[in-house]
Subunit: 128 residues, 4 copies
Amino acid sequence: MKFEFDNNYPIHMQLVKYILFYISNGTLKPNEKLPSVRELAEIAGVNHNTIQKALNEVEDLGLIYTNRTNGKYVTENQDLIKKFKENMINEKIDQFLKEMKKIGIEKLKLEIKTTESEEVKTYEYSKD
Amino acid sequence: MKFEFDNNYPIHMQLVKYILFYISNGTLKPNEKLPSVRELAEIAGVNHNTIQKALNEVEDLGLIYTNRTNGKYVTENQDLIKKFKENMINEKIDQFLKEMKKIGIEKLKLEIKTTESEEVKTYEYSKD
Amino acid sequence: MKFEFDNNYPIHMQLVKYILFYISNGTLKPNEKLPSVRELAEIAGVNHNTIQKALNEVEDLGLIYTNRTNGKYVTENQDLIKKFKENMINEKIDQFLKEMKKIGIEKLKLEIKTTESEEVKTYEYSKD
Amino acid sequence: MKFEFDNNYPIHMQLVKYILFYISNGTLKPNEKLPSVRELAEIAGVNHNTIQKALNEVEDLGLIYTNRTNGKYVTENQDLIKKFKENMINEKIDQFLKEMKKIGIEKLKLEIKTTESEEVKTYEYSKD
DNA sequence: GTGGTCTAGACCACT
DNA sequence: GTGGTCTAGACCACC
């Protein structure tokens, strides 16, 4: 797990995105115990309060849960994780396509197959 | 020219991106006069100082120049603009592909045709 | 550190020059923490935004860096500072000699020894 | 006669300095007729009002005079010119020495002989 | 308390 | 009316 921050963007938000990302791609597996807040703070090189804030937001989303005496764990609800992953992918694709349009691309075709489904999704765009 | 802002990100940076987009996609043409700083401020709904800051950054990049009591103009250096656009596109594509890989996409194919060249560039990725 | 301003010249530019001087002559040492932006504003008797602008310019030159919630520091790259200082000195000397020539000085001899080198540089000029 | 301007400094002031400079070094000779305001405006690439303003300031200093129907002339008072020239030279030297000190020069020696006097002036500075 | 951002409003030089 | 500068004052993220 690596964290690199853009100082012009709220760090806790970037942390949330990283955690979601690591849960989505399986770096953090269902039911896995997260490193302690202090540890994460060290890994990420930020204050532990900032980590707390981020983890709370992820917990609100339902993707991790707290075992009071024992630390924080990734949810075992794989469907929820899957949904979040799909969401994330769709958002990234949408944003990419939007930006490519704005930048003045003439023609674009994108085919994507995720691990979760058999279907290949196709996105096309042409200037006219 | 439209501007919409994400309040979690410094506005002057978002402005810079917008201007770069508008120069890249030809909304702002080489040698064209920009709306006055105050006008842009009104269009974008921000303070004129914020516009100043953003335009200064774009000027530092060499894409616009200032005619002191006369206004600001897009550079007439079309090569520079072209290079900039290509750079921007390549960066966005690279970043997109990198993220898609990391998120665990199984298969991906991307075809892109820019206005500048006849060539269609193809990017492919498969998990194995 | 003292600051005196000529009101016919943008203050932020004069500030930049002051900071460069202070870094060049060792008033501000490599890796030293600068006074806070607000403090400098008070010392210099200007608005903190003006200080910000000036320090940003110095940062663009690579001579200071920002530790976001911690303050601003002089670069530890002593070579860069040295190079900068030499450049500055050479420019000022060249400009001075050029002006003295143009103004019609008959004869001029200048000897300079910097802290950095043992060598004494000599510049001479005679009208004929 | 050439004019190059630093846009960050009031242009009429720079013009005044240029004119004084050209009178000092004999580019503009005593009793010589100046180019017309319009001509100067074109040469300098600035608005004629700006030239007017500058020439008025020089006239206030007594170095040029206006012959109502006939244009503007350099004064024939050579002593006055000489005095101004010496003044200018001294100012430039002082400023140069001051800056060299501020920049942290260790040792400096400057000898200057002007056309006007037999004397060689010597300036010396040492850090300690 | 650190840097960073933004606004509103004022004033300046130059055309 | 153009760009540029500056101030005062406010608010934010992070430590």
